[in-house]
């Protein structure tokens, strides 16, 4: 069973969201997602300053099996992309909820509520339904 930290929020498309003290949110892909993709060989993160809509593809994670879009869980402005991933994409596999974060987003007004993110318990149910 994959690791689903209780203090994070989740999307159906397997992103996690962490609220940071400075008002931004940190976003990555879940342990389940990194496991399903397998060893990552390339990660593309968005440029700082780009505005994204909710559900807009804004990053790419690629393994030898597949390339997948990562969708913005909420609308906002990119505050940072993780600069380490260009040279060390495997960080997403080894530490998906920590050093392997993909981007930080400054949410647009009301975007966090509008995103209707899932609790860890609800995300667990999604995984169970997928047979994972």
């Amino acid at each position: 069973m994959s690791n689903v930290p209780a203090d994070l929020k989740y999307t159906k498309s397997h992103e996690w969201v962490r609220s940071l003290a400075d008002g931004t949110v940190e976003i990555g892909i879940t342990d389940h997602a990194q496991h399903a993709l397998g060893d990552l060989v390339f990660v593309e993160v968005p440029e700082t300053g780009r505005t994204v809509k909710q559900d807009e593809p804004c990053a790419v994670v690629e393994s030898v099996k597949a390339a997948s879009d990562v969708y913005a869980p909420l609308a906002g402005e990119i505050a940072a992309g993780n600069p380490k991933l260009a040279d060390a994409p495997e960080t997403v596999n080894s530490d998906p909820y920590g050093e392997g974060w993909l981007m930080r987003v400054r949410p647009a007004a009301g975007a966090l509520a509008a995103a209707e993110l899932m609790s860890a318990a609800d995300y667990q149910k999604v995984l169970a339904a997928e047979g994972g």
Binding site: A36, G38, V41, F42, V64, K65, A66, S68, P89, G131
Partner: protein, 492 residues
Amino acid sequence: MPSREKVIFEYSQAGRGASDQWPHHPGSAALADLPAKLKRSKAPALPEVGELEAVRHFTRLSQLNFSIDTHFYPLGSCTMKYNPKACNQYAMLPQFLARHPLAPESHGQGFLGCMYELQEMLKEVTGMQGVALSPMAGAHGEFAGVAMIRAYHHARGDLKRNEIIVPEAAHGTNPATATMCGCVVREVPVNSSGDVDLAALKAAVGPNTAGIMLTNPSTLGVFERGIEEVARVVHEAGGLLYYDGANLNAILGKVRPGDMGFDCLHMNLHKTFSTPHGGGGPGAGAVGVAARLMPFLPIPIVAREGERYRWLAESDLPQSIGRLSAFMGNAGVLLRAYIYMRLLGRDGMRAVGEYATLNANYLLKRLEAAGFEAAYPERRASHEFIVTLKRQARELNVTAMDFAKRLLDLGFHAPTTYFPLIVPECLLIEPTETESKEVLDAFVAAMSQIQKEAQQEPERVRTAPHTMPVRRLDDVRAARHLDLTWTPTTQH
């Protein structure tokens, strides 16, 4: 299986060579006239081997191949069917080989006639009104198709239509094509039976819809049952329907994309019409269109006027999206497809679709009976089907990739692995119509043997292949540290 073959540089000995491969005019005036700055400062690092060594090296390399002429090759979505030798024989007639592409039309009436008849046969088999042969691969044909859809909307002054809808099960080339053509991709899900989610489709279409790209049968190996409703929804929204012809083999002679409501399609002649492919080419991605897209077809196209054939060019089709390749594309591949269709005839073509589907369904039922899990057990297979090994991965820690590698040891090319992306641990298996029952039974026996090994000695499967010239390759390291050039370390 022979052992690994060395790189030809490793055979090199200074001063060796084959006299008939030397330049004939090493000191010619043309070379002497080259400006000094264009000349090499030192000789290129070429291998120096005798003719016999070169022959043996390349013959041994060719013997390492898994090919359709040597092995069962059930690579799903790729239609690796047998290429009849007659097609090759006739396409290699000296009159075809010696034809210069710049020769006047009057000197190539035979070739032009073949291309014209090929256009006509492809129209009939797909239910389309116009065909152009020049795109050189499936993705090239897709590019032509979406470019025509855009040109159609633009010609009507409908400039805002820039969204292409793509089901989540689509080939990766579909969203890539849409993006290359300057469109935005909108993905729609498929339901649990493998059909397009119609409610999601209805929500996705609108005044910005340029069209939808659809494969039918889909990459899930099942026929899209809602196709008529899909066509109605997209057309009513003002969009056009693009048919990805990758899976045309399943419906050949039975159902026509034109009759399903598609406006545009590409055909992978190198799949459905049995021309050699693999390793990146050469392909042929002819496109077909309904009447409203005919003005936009890429040139050249062959027209018949009385008893004469001629090329249609810019002056005949001023709204054409243009030329996509030099001359006629891969003319030799087009000839092979033409001969294949002529040899089969109308009834033969129908039999292709029937046997391709029969073989796939037979193989699916036998694998299910052997304990393998079909991804869509309630659905009849098209010309291919998906087995999911997620149970083996979970319970035995033996993955689809491990099965695929072990199949090589047992004398079978692996099926497509991990595609489509929405089915975990999947093998996409396409036997094609040209395989016998005995071969299909042998494949089931091999899969059953691997299943037994996975239970009793899983390490044997996890570390496969064991009998190939190279063992399991580190594909992750290869992707992370891309290095495609072999450099001689010591110059002899």
